[in-house]
């Protein structure tokens, strides 16, 4: 899918005509960067291009990628969601609470224990709820997305800490007599030799790419991000679209929280801190414009993989943690600079054609 990286939805409606090879390569830069990095690390470290390491790498990437998929929808509308990291923590803690203590009903002095599928569903709903709060603040109360989600970042994080007075739920194996065992499978189980986490990433990415590229909803997301007022006059319910993207984003974040808790077999209240920045970085690296209206799901997955490969490869090479951060930062900035260059290049081409 070559042109998906930076251009909007709909494959036959998308292919730009008369593009020179240069522009095409430019558009594919995230993918090219990914292959270049894969090449470099394969040469420098024999441990890198092994099946075992690649599975670890993709597994690590999956956590960020799932969040970034939700974030892509938000950014396509021209918004931003800073609360995803906290939602990860909140979902993790609530899953811990439900497994460890059940849902306490104080007046009756009892607690209801759910089975694992039910717990997963409840935590995903929690993510939807956080998203709905964000959406409501942004659409009904006209709060800027940055501020609204900054507020919910604190609220969700605080709630996660309150859920167990700041302590960790250390053991999420569950008890057979309560019928809530099996939670760790989510994070460490395999299907056909591939970790479930990676399957989840594939499913999320595929559904998201389909929704963004092939459905009216997806088209409307691009339209809202491209020109909100024109979209409204074309009969698009702008507020509904915005509400939906924040809910999708919350859903993806809570999925990430469940996976993280399951992998650790524990829920720590600080889990997911600063994850929102990784997700935004993946989206931007994938060529989605922060001003909205331009970008694609596959780009985001490639962006998450670039960050994953970079992190993993630098660890294998024994690069100091601090340098890792510096390098990641440089890569993100470079991506945005290139994005601006592409925009200018295309404008100039459009001018020359006329």
């Amino acid at each position: 899918m070559p042109t998906t990286l930076t251009s909007p939805a709909g494959s036959a409606l998308r292919k730009p005509s008369g593009l020179s090879l240069g522009v095409l390569l430019f558009r594919l830069r995230a993918l090219i960067a990914l292959f270049v990095l894969l090449g470099i690390f394969s040469v420098l470290s024999p441990a890198f291009f092994t099946q075992q390491n690649l599975i670890i790498l993709v597994g690590q990437t999956a956590i960020n990628a799932i969040m970034a998929v939700g974030m892509t929808f938000v950014i396509l509308t021209g918004g931003i969601d800073l609360s995803v990291g906290s939602t990860v923590g909140l979902a993790a803690m609530i899953s811990g609470l439900l497994i460890d203590r059940g849902l306490p009903i104080p007046p009756l002095g009892v607690a209801i224990y759910f089975n694992i599928p039910m717990i997963i569903v409840l935590c995903l709903c929690l993510g939807l709820l956080v998203g709905a709060v964000n959406g409501l603040l942004i659409t009904r109360f006209n709060v800027a997305p940055f501020i609204a989600t900054l507020g919910t970042l604190y609220i969700a994080r605080g709630t996660a800490q309150l859920s167990n007075n700041g302590a960790t739920f250390p053991n999420l194996v569950g008890k057979p007599d309560l019928g809530n065992t099996g939670f760790p499978i989510l994070g460490s189980g395999n299907i056909l030799g591939i970790p479930i986490v990676i399957w989840i990433m594939f499913v999320f990415a595929a559904v998201a790419a389909f929704v963004a590229g092939k459905t009216p909803f997806g088209r409307q997301v691009y339209a809202v991000g491209g020109n909100e007022r024109a979209a409204e006059l074309s009969g698009i319910y702008v507020n509904r679209i915005k509400m939906s993207v924040y809910m999708i984003c919350g859903l993806c974040a809570s999925m990430t929280g469940l996976i993280t808790a399951s992998q650790l077999v524990a829920a720590h209240p600080a889990v997911g801190e600063s994850y929102e920045l990784n997700a935004i970085a993946a989206v931007v690296l994938g060529g989605t414009s922060l001003s909205g209206g331009r970008g694609a799901m596959w780009g985001t997955i490639v962006g998450a993989l670039v960050i994953g490969v970079l992190t993993n490869g630098l660890v294998l090479l024994g690069v100091q943690e601090f340098w890792k951060k510096v390098i990641t930062g440089l890569v993100i900035i470079l991506a945005v600079v290139l994005d601006q260059l592409q925009e200018r290049l295309q404008q100039r081409l459009a001018l020359n054609r006329s």
Partner: protein
């Protein structure tokens, strides 16, 4: 007599003994998809009012932006006092003594008059702004302009005309030698306009060169010394104002009558038909008292083209906004197909068969980041859903049909919408509207900013639509358009219906009188709410 020949020369003196201060030579400006200016020459004389005139989209504003350093020419050069200059910013142009007052004023409503005048070049001592000194200078300027306002007043508290005065004061404080005014009277009352003309006369007496852009032809001949006419981005003519009359200007502006749109001789609609759209006593209150629309009533039948004529601020755009349900505070009754509209959303009204082609294409009509194809189907995506995704095949079929029927000039439907010319962009917006299968199609200034050829095409499209039974409502501020395709014209003035004419009853004089082109009444309604 024509000055076209002299305008090439860099002579320091010219006819009438006026000195040439600025010459624009062979200026060309290209945008993606259009050539806004094509080898235009323009001469500016000191101590004179240099009028620039042309239809919408003729390139006036672009030329002014180049003179003022907002935009840079693709080719050509500027000579200031005979020396070539190049302005990379408005600041550089201002330093050279060129000031501009935009049609949309560029003031900060949250700052005071004096702060606005000295913005970005504050009078400071030791890094501290000297408010007292700024206000003193401001007072002097305002007195000179016969507007003794308090310099500490916030700009948001000023009326439109007063804000214009502040802009002029700002330009004067920078010692302008050339002052560009882009349609300065469009939002002014008669009294404010007279005051402005006195100021202009005073500036001219002090040797300032005024470049004056306006659509009001009588006004131009009253105050102009030199007249330059642009048409379709080219220099059409230049002359001394004394030597010409309105007929001359119109002839030069419009050129040879390019494919005058036909008038459908026998509109099928008869008064016997039940109207498809009925508006009764529509009123839209204005913030701060008064009405933007007051008791507007109209009816529209199938196959009819009804034009709404009025000047800026007459309430034309607001009428459409009310019809599309964007003003819940409006009162009155709107009936579509004999069904009373209540609180339907925009989507709801589109589904019922109303659709608007908005005036401001860029801000309200197009999604610039999407392709031509995606823009065309945007308002009717539901039609293309099979199962629950969009069928590319269905989409492309309709898109290609639209591109063919409206002869939209695009290499292919996947082109970015921004690569199309203004006229073709407008056709895309119309295509988008048609795909919603409207009964009533509303077009707000559908020919604004597009070239003469495209205008004729748009009118022909409207004719054909009417013949197919669409009811068409269109708004225009251009008098000549009233005599082209409409079956009936309703005139709005200050929110009220002040006239209604059938095609064969139309006369220019009657329309202008009804529109109250220059309200002579002592009507106290201000053009802007005074808060």
């Amino acid at each position: 007599m024509s000055l076209t020949d002299q305008s090439h020369s860099t002579d320091q003196t010219a006819v009438n003994g006026d000195r040439v201060v600025l010459v624009a030579e062979k200026i060309t400006k290209r945008y993606p998809g259009t050539v806004a200016l094509d080898q235009v020459d323009f001469t500016v004389y000191a101590g004179s009012v240099n009028v620039l005139i042309g239809e919408n989209g003729a390139g006036k504003s672009t030329l002014m932006k180049i003179l003022a350093g907002v935009e840079r020419a693709t080719s050509g050069r500027l000579l200031l006092d005979g020396t070539p200059v190049e302005f990379r910013s408005t600041r550089e142009a201002a330093q050279a003594g060129i000031g501009i007052i935009f049609q949309e004023l560029n003031l900060y409503p949250n700052l005071s008059i004096s702060e606005n005048i000295f913005v970005a070049r504050e009078l400071t001592r030791g890094g501290v702004v000297q408010h007292r000194a700024q206000e003193h200078v401001t007072s002097e300027l305002l007195n000179r302009l016969e507007q003794p306002l308090n310099p500490a007043t916030l700009v948001r508290e000023l009326r439109m005309g007063q804000q214009q005065i502040v802009e002029i004061a700002k330009a004067l404080s920078q010692n302008v030698r050339i002052l560009i005014m882009d349609e300065p009277t469009s939002a002014l009352t008669a009294a404010e306009t007279e005051a402005l003309f006195r100021i202009i006369a005073d500036l001219r007496a002090h040797g300032v060169a005024i470049i004056y852009i306006s659509h009001k032809l009588e006004e131009l001949l009253t105050i102009g010394d030199y007249v330059t006419v642009l048409r379709d981005g080219k220099l059409a003519a230049a002359s001394l104002a004394q030597a010409i009359n309105i007929a001359w200007i119109i002839e030069k502006m419009v050129g040879r009558n390019v494919n005058a749109p036909r008038h459908r001789t026998q509109p099928k609609a008869t008064t016997a038909d039940r109207p498809v759209l009925e508006v009764r006593n529509l009123s839209l209150p204005r913030a701060g008292g008064g009405f933007t629309l007051e008791n507007v009533s109209l009816t529209l039948r199938r196959g009819e083209i009804l034009a709404i004529f009025g000047l800026m601020g007459a309430g034309r755009t607001e009428l459409f906004e009310c019809l599309m349900g964007q003003h819940p505070e409006a009162s009155g009754e709107i009936r579509l197909d004999d069904r009373k509209l209540r609180n339907e959303t925009i989507r709801g009204r589109i589904d019922l068969g109303m659709m608007l082609v908005p005036e401001d294409r860029q801000r309200l009509g197009l999604i610039q980041k999407l392709s031509v194809a995606q823009n065309i189907t945007l308002a009717s995506l539901r039609r293309f859903v099979t199962s629950f995704w969009l069928s590319e095949r269905l989409e492309l079929r309709e898109i290609n049909a639209m591109i063919r029927n409206l002869s939209i000039k695009t290499q292919n439907p996947q082109q970015p919408i921004t690569s199309l010319s203004g006229g073709n962009q407008q056709k895309v917006v119309i295509a988008k509207s048609l795909l919603t299968e409207p009964q009533v199609l509303m077009l707000d200034e559908p020919t604004r900013g597009i070239d003469v050829g495209a205008k004729a095409e748009i009118f022909e499209i409207m004719n054909q639509l009417a013949e197919k039974g669409f009811a068409i409502l269109f708004v225009s501020s251009e008098l000549p358009e009233m005599f082209t395709i409409p079956d009936r014209v309703i005139v709005l003035s200050k929110g009220r219906v002040t006239g209604e004419f059938l095609h064969d009853q139309l006369s220019e004089e009657a329309l202008v009188r009804a529109a109250g082109a220059r309200p002579q009444t002592e009507d106290p309604v201000p053009t802007q709410p005074s808060t």
